[in-house]
């Protein structure tokens, strides 16, 4: 029972078939998928273009209706308008009114959540600061770069302090520094007990932050599980040593070769390009 109530998104045999003008089946975008997203986890939906990721997210939001199957979001039908007050959604493109400023658009969306007065002002200001757009808060969104518009997109999806956050390609168009900031924001939200579902092609980002992932292909779930488990290469181990001397390294390798019959590969532990970039930019910024 406890496990059932912990399910934030539950899909059983979920299918979406798009039809043509005459009602004939045209494309089966999602084909009998089973999906469970639990409270407080960061779940990634991976897959190539046209695999059914965005269709699944749209069904979770009630924007598309399933052809068959069961889908519940926070224990309710996704077509229930009330349930959306607990959901935040950031679409793939920053679908925003380009003539409004960042502050105006957040103010508008906050009104849709029923926020008003000082509470609305404070929330809008806090989110603008959180996504780093303080200096550009009164500029029209039409003048924003793609990355800045994505930040507004993220801010609007957090306006209602949602329990469930759906993000479609959240780091697309962001520079590595902003990307790291967004990932830190998401990890912070998960620490606060929020549930996050992300669709993305950026596998490194997904690997970095997701607890569990599902890989979609042609509308079907091909693989699903905890990221750590999926990444394990059975039968292979990595041994890390901190600055061993040439002699001791040679002795260790000889010993392993003697015990296992194969000589292990030796390489330096690599840093990711992301960590090098962030370190360089931060060092550069700290120089007066």
């Amino acid at each position: 029972m406890g496990e059932t109530t912990d399910l934030v998104i539950e899909a059983r045999k979920l299918t979406k078939i798009f039809q043509d003008f005459w009602g004939r089946p045209k494309v089966c975008a999602v084909n009998e998928i089973d999906l469970e997203v639990r409270r407080g986890e960061l779940f990634g939906l991976l897959g190539p273009n046209g695999s059914g990721k965005s269709t699944t997210i749209k069904m979770i939001l009630g924007l598309l209706h399933p052809t068959t199957g069961l889908l519940t979001v926070l224990g309710q039908s996704p077509r229930n308008v009330a349930v959306k007050s607990k959901i935040g959604f950031m679409p793939e493109e920053s679908y925003l009114y380009k003539y409004l400023t960042a502050a105006e658009i957040l103010d508008f969306y906050a009104s849709l959540y029923g926020l008003s007065g000082n509470r609305k002002k404070e929330r809008v200001s806090a989110l603008i600061a959180q996504v780093g757009l303080d200096a550009a808060r009164n500029r029209p969104i039409g003048e924003f770069s793609k990355g800045m518009a994505r930040r507004v997109g993220l801010a609007q999806c957090l306006l209602n302090d949602p329990d469930l956050i759906l993000l479609d390609e959240p780091t697309s168009g962001l520079d590595p520094l902003a990307c790291r900031e967004v990932k830190d924001i998401l990890l912070g939200l998960v620490r606060r007990g929020k549930t996050i579902l992300i669709c993305s092609h950026h596998l490194a980002d997904m690997q970095d932050i997701c607890d569990r992932v599902a890989i979609l292909m042609n509308g079907k779930v091909c693989a699903e599980g905890a990221v750590k488990e999926l990444l394990i290469n059975p039968g292979t181990l990595r041994l890390s040593l901190e600055s061993p001397s040439r002699e001791s390294l040679s002795a260790i390798l000889d010993y392993i070769e003697k015990e296992t019959g194969t000589r292990p590969l030796v390489d330096h532990t690599g840093r990711t390009l992301e960590s090098v970039f962030i370190e360089t930019v931060k060092q550069r910024n700290s120089i007066p």
């Binding site: 924007l63 308008v81 508008f108 969306y109 849709l112 959540y113």
Partner: protein, 312 residues
């Protein structure tokens, strides 16, 4: 409220809105120049033309604005963000219609003022209203200057301010010209304006609201060119609905169906009623308003039924 406000601000920012409203005003007030050649019945021609302009430009504006406020939400994808919030589809649909209705009311206000000015400027026995002509010529340009200044100094959109100042200018001009005769002498307020045109414009305004209801319902599925084309067909079919019903006299059921489906535009066309010094009575406007409300509600229900299950 927030949805209506945003839709309104979007509609009043559209350059096409300014273009259509200004073109209607300019065409209407240019009619007196065209009829200055003593073709006969100058006043009648000016009034009929201004009312016809109001109908046609109002219809195009209704069709275009309906699609720009609703259909463009699909095209731009903003509807995805809106419906990810706790926003009901009925509320959204009605908010869009409310904003469109406000725009139509604004258009009717400008068109009515232009019609009153056109009637006043119409030369009678080669007596040109030079005062009115001069004031009008200057005012149209003057109205755009403050909007340009606001745009330059604050970077706010030029279009809504120019619409606001144009409406202000037209209203001011009607008030000024209603207190002066053709030679510029002060007369009793209102004596130089044919106020009987106001209920005629109001009658057309009600018809335009009805057409706006049809337009917003069509825009659930169709883009602007198709919506405007269907509205034009409905306008002309509605104008000849009596004739069509007559043609189908042999099959009364078919005639009844045609009469029920087509909007009775003939009932809203005020020029015939004004011909020969007739007046538009309050009862006539009331009857038209009740018909438009009933027909419009039916059309909006159909539009909402199509919108309710629309998938994005």
């Amino acid at each position: 409220m927030a949805l209506t406000g945003l839709a309104l601000s979007e509609l009043f920012r559209q350059p096409a809105t300014l273009l259509l409203i200004l073109t209607n005003v300019v065409c209407t007030i240019l009619v007196p120049l065209a009829v200055s050649h003593q073709l006969g019945q100058q006043t009648h021609l000016a009034v009929d033309s201004s009312l016809a302009f109001e109908f046609v430009f109002g219809l195009i504006l209704a069709g275009y604005a309906a699609c720009s406020t609703l259909h463009n939400e699909y095209l731009s994808g903003t509807i995805l963000t809106i419906f990810s919030k706790p926003v009901g589809r009925l509320m959204f649909f009605l908010a869009k219609f409310s904003a469109l209705a406000v725009l139509i009311v604004f258009f009717v206000f400008c068109a009515s003022a232009a019609s009153l000015l056109a009637e006043r400027l119409t030369p009678r026995n080669f007596e040109f209203d030079t005062l009115g002509m001069r004031l009008l010529g200057v005012s149209l340009f003057v109205a755009l200057i403050p909007a340009a200044i606001v745009n330059f100094r604050t970077r706010r959109s030029f279009v809504p301010y120019s619409l606001f100042f144009c409406a202000l200018m037209l209203a001011g001009l009607v008030l000024i010209l209603s207190t002066f005769d053709l030679e510029g002498h002060r007369v009793a307020f209102g004596s130089m304006i044919n106020w009987s045109l106001v209920p005629a414009c109001l009658l057309e305004g009600i018809a335009l609201l009805l057409l706006a209801a049809i337009a917003i319902s069509l825009s659930v599925r169709l883009a602007a060119p198709a919506t405007v084309a269907i509205l034009l067909v409905l306008l002309f079919a509605g104008l000849v609905s009596d004739h069509l019903t007559g043609l189908l006299a042999a099959v009364p059921q078919a005639g009844f169906v045609v009469k029920m489906i087509l909007p009775d535009i003939q009932g809203f066309w005020p020029a015939d009623k004004l011909a020969g010094g007739g007046i538009i009575t309050g009862a006539l406007i009331g009857h038209a308003a009740v018909y438009a409300a009933a027909y419009g509600t039916g059309v909006l229900c159909l539009g909402y039924a199509a919108f309710r299950n629309r998938q994005f």
